[in-house]
Symmetry: D2
Subunit: 375 residues, 4 copies
Amino acid sequence: MTPSALPATGRASILEAFKAPLRRVDYPLPAAMEPGAILVRTEMAGICGTDVHLWRGELPIQLPVILGHETVGRIVSLGAGVDKDWSGLPLKAGDRVTWTSATSCGRCYYCAVKNQPTRCPERRAYGIGYRCDASPHFLGGYADFHYLRPRVNVFLLPETLSTESVIGAGCALITAIHGVERTGVDWQDTVVVQGVGPVGISAIAVAKSAGASRVIAIGGPDHRLEMARRFGADEVIPLDETQTASDRIQSVKKLTGGWGADIVLECVGHPSAVVEGMEMCRDGGKYLVLGHYCDAGPISFNPHVITRKQLQVFGSWSSEPRHMKAAIDFLSRNADRFPFASMVTHRFSLDQANEALQTTAAWRAAKSVIVPGVD
Amino acid sequence: MTPSALPATGRASILEAFKAPLRRVDYPLPAAMEPGAILVRTEMAGICGTDVHLWRGELPIQLPVILGHETVGRIVSLGAGVDKDWSGLPLKAGDRVTWTSATSCGRCYYCAVKNQPTRCPERRAYGIGYRCDASPHFLGGYADFHYLRPRVNVFLLPETLSTESVIGAGCALITAIHGVERTGVDWQDTVVVQGVGPVGISAIAVAKSAGASRVIAIGGPDHRLEMARRFGADEVIPLDETQTASDRIQSVKKLTGGWGADIVLECVGHPSAVVEGMEMCRDGGKYLVLGHYCDAGPISFNPHVITRKQLQVFGSWSSEPRHMKAAIDFLSRNADRFPFASMVTHRFSLDQANEALQTTAAWRAAKSVIVPGVD
Amino acid sequence: MTPSALPATGRASILEAFKAPLRRVDYPLPAAMEPGAILVRTEMAGICGTDVHLWRGELPIQLPVILGHETVGRIVSLGAGVDKDWSGLPLKAGDRVTWTSATSCGRCYYCAVKNQPTRCPERRAYGIGYRCDASPHFLGGYADFHYLRPRVNVFLLPETLSTESVIGAGCALITAIHGVERTGVDWQDTVVVQGVGPVGISAIAVAKSAGASRVIAIGGPDHRLEMARRFGADEVIPLDETQTASDRIQSVKKLTGGWGADIVLECVGHPSAVVEGMEMCRDGGKYLVLGHYCDAGPISFNPHVITRKQLQVFGSWSSEPRHMKAAIDFLSRNADRFPFASMVTHRFSLDQANEALQTTAAWRAAKSVIVPGVD
Amino acid sequence: MTPSALPATGRASILEAFKAPLRRVDYPLPAAMEPGAILVRTEMAGICGTDVHLWRGELPIQLPVILGHETVGRIVSLGAGVDKDWSGLPLKAGDRVTWTSATSCGRCYYCAVKNQPTRCPERRAYGIGYRCDASPHFLGGYADFHYLRPRVNVFLLPETLSTESVIGAGCALITAIHGVERTGVDWQDTVVVQGVGPVGISAIAVAKSAGASRVIAIGGPDHRLEMARRFGADEVIPLDETQTASDRIQSVKKLTGGWGADIVLECVGHPSAVVEGMEMCRDGGKYLVLGHYCDAGPISFNPHVITRKQLQVFGSWSSEPRHMKAAIDFLSRNADRFPFASMVTHRFSLDQANEALQTTAAWRAAKSVIVPGVD
């Protein structure tokens, strides 16, 4: 598309009031590009479970907002000084790209001194942290266009990698990559994954490809456990057959010679999973608290277990740009082994954005997506 | 002492009933030495806080028992096949030695496969886990003699290292060495130590000598904080000036540029310290649960903090023989910088063993010790 | 076999003079078992390339010797006190087992203090370091029986694991497991393996299963490169198409975006490979010197490359018992993915031991083995 | 100084021809500041050994150049958008600052993907990599002013830290901090430092404060060994008493129980030191090649040593901004323990720049510096 072919306005589906239907509006496209900015035409926007939390008002955001932080698009125009993607590949109009939803400042205490860029206080995320009622408006995925601000971490997508793979993996995969990296999988480790939602499925795939000899998935219902198997789980423990924490702990022990697993990855988000999961570790094992991006409240916990079992417990927050780079490489090489593209089960037009969101809210889809161009 | 000079019996002070006074008894010395065993004449036995817990019946042990798991003695006789200490130094009768209270089997799942020997299921500790009413009787420190079973991890003490240094450091130092090793101190880290009991004081010394730029100690009363300073604390936060968790967290933040510490070492033993201490870490920081050797019960805890702050949390159980070796080297080189010998403040004869124990129970001593030879 | 059914003597094929044919002799079986010893009837003995070096007199050993340090057998009798394998599994007569060729002492400076047991000065290897002209004679694999001395690291083989898998993998696999462990493969690393002999093939399998996204093998001839592909190599660089070091370095760079590989594993044994291989690493990459178990002499080397490329270079010597345990688990789970059993291409009777050795010397076999029972 | 008080020109001492005397010239100050740039009045410029190599033409640079890559100055004016130092501290005119000589791009393969920013291909260093015959001219330390380009890593110096400390430590300290970080010192390690030049002295201080129990320095002459002791060496091995490699290796072994050191840090720059130094490591030890920033040519080397001794060998190139931050903190806290300020032994005016350089070339100074303001 040449800039001359650009329309004056673009459509967006906006959240104006919590728990109310999204509303379709038109916004003017930015009149000029800042140096370093990129304008993208949205090709596909994923609906993440976090979007449901946002819609319900469970996180502290300002309205109105264009939801959508998992997005693929094609470059319409590039601001001055941008000619390469994050990893140095050349960029031009027409290229298909994705990007990290948040950008760290690169020069604060956490970015520079302590190398913890995900904890940079200046991070704001597209689709979450920007109001859309002022220019450049297009700062979320549920829209015809997406404006990428200067310093965005943008990634050229290889021809061989489908848009469905990228959106099917979504932010769950990069979250899992970061978490498993912090935990560290040793060759031939036995890994338990608690939970088979998007993050759990991704964690299974990452752990399996990172050297685990066996991955044991705990969750349900059955179709999710089937998916867990397709993404690398060697054994599954169905929740409907192990209804108490004690049952599940015993199931893990039975599968691990009575000792427990080398590594347990929590991808549930309920604090009771943490208490239960630590007991699934062998002594000297490792535990990752990955599902607690949201605050799900306190639980009765006895820290003696950490000493007695000599555990290592890790937390991991969001992800860094290099995890997106790794995800793109991983998806490109493993379309057959780990079929993330098949996650995209429900497609909606931009006008159906509200329906797309409700489909995710009702757990009726592996992954709902919005495809603005189909209108 | 030649074997011919050995008396037929030796004295011991035994725990026969919980919370009752220790009783002085005589036991026959073993008639013969097993291959690999060592008979030692006790030179000094430390009273550990754990001994008080044992005396009160707070840990599941079988009576009667000779308490005392921190001991130095001189070799009386060596069983067949023992001629070297754990690190290969030659041993002979008359040598002054110490030993680890427990011995791991070396060939089980935890010892061999997973390299977690402190979690070996076959460990039993001198002064805790052996009944004394059957031969060889002398399996605890509060006695004239100590029988060391085959495969004991025994260490020759260098001439330049005082017995007081070894007993003053006691099992607290090796516990701290192990814990700090698992946590890992990076060069110039800021370290907070919660608690200034024996483990806390040891943790301060180890952290300071392991590369910490600043050590901040939290605790009380004042004479313990003075000791904390003498062992390397750069700053102290007195409990009597910071009476709430929030006060203490703010004190740490104020001392660390608002961010929190790189590392926090819990040496308190109350579960609330764990909840409080994690908030003292900077994001991406490390937390060691070291004081929870005993089960002090549950607490209300929100695991979201581990994710949000991207923490690494470590547990550490007891210690390995190489930590004792490291402790002996460390004490030998640092008698001036870290004056552990000065911890030994109260000396008792074997007949006064009960008084020694009560002095420790009442927190009246930095360290009480029994010196059987003074009778 | 009951002890009463044991013959009075067993056959062995012994090396009496370097470069001379092996000679068949009969030796008496040991009259009594030491406590802790095990007598095994040899089921299969592998011929290792090292055996050829030993036969040629290129390593400092004492003659006569029964060669063979890769062996599987069935237990004939167990000395007093042995009732479990290294990992705690119960052992009884008739069980099929393998063992590490060398045993470390467990209590010296390298074993205990520094956790480098492969460098224990007391290690001697079956099939290499024991003269066979004195009782118990049977201390190598090319014989009807094998005597395992007290403290041997013996491993029960699971029913589902074929003897061919264990011998096909041989000491090459455990060498590779140790080396790759020391190097550390990060998720999605690109790994180059220099050399496609037994260690190279094993290194490919281990690196691939340890999280490498791509493994590039360098070597020849074509049938070995085919084997490299079967064991996980994604790309191969044939030596006959890249005849200079510069050609091979350029080939690696071309396959790695011009940067070089994250990890390069040297499995060649010629010092020039080390100089060449470091240039194949990206800056900040890792290099493993694994093929230099033998001293192959010096080379002109410029250490500036280590600084300029900011490399990490690792050495790895032999292997530890836990690597054997890991190998058995790995082989058990991956018979299809990594078909080590198919390596066993040539079988010989004990009377043909010399022919077996010459077949290996002439590189005519993937793996020659001796099967004493076929006579 | 207000901008209005700025002179129109500033003095510089420039290198126009290799091995020829530096020449004093006047250059116009930049007419305008780029956004992000900073103009500094030079307070002190260190003469580094590398400057001597540059003067001799031993490194590939373009002339003319203003030498000097270790500099402290006061801010004269700040370009648009610069109001904080690298670590977030506020900056204003008059502040005393230092900076890293090179800036990495932050977004290339080495900066972003592989986290090896010191290997960024876009790095150019002040005082080395910029011609001075075009505006802004002032891109090296031997001058009245220094122009800092946009994205410079600039650091506010605390009041309590003397300029002499920063310049006395110079680039040697940050080089050592980076190298020791890559190597990793475990608590109570025995460390050998080969060489007592500026990098060696810094390595001694860093290793000692990073947890080493003993530091053994090898070098000479005696006054440098005295300095080594002052900066933390517990023992010294004088070159004039140990004239062969074998002598020096034996001296290290004698001091380390016959085993060798846990860590050896090469700070010499001659390839023979690397061959010699690896033999000083205990088996399983670590070796850092730190002195080979320049290419000093090849040596006969047998890579078998890396396998046989199971070594870990590290290279380290230059340093990252966070090492400068750490150096400033370290110097601030340790003015007494590690008296880097006392290194500054010879002061010269800008007109004496050539004499300053020759003093360093002739090893007549611990550290020569130029103080432009004294003229």
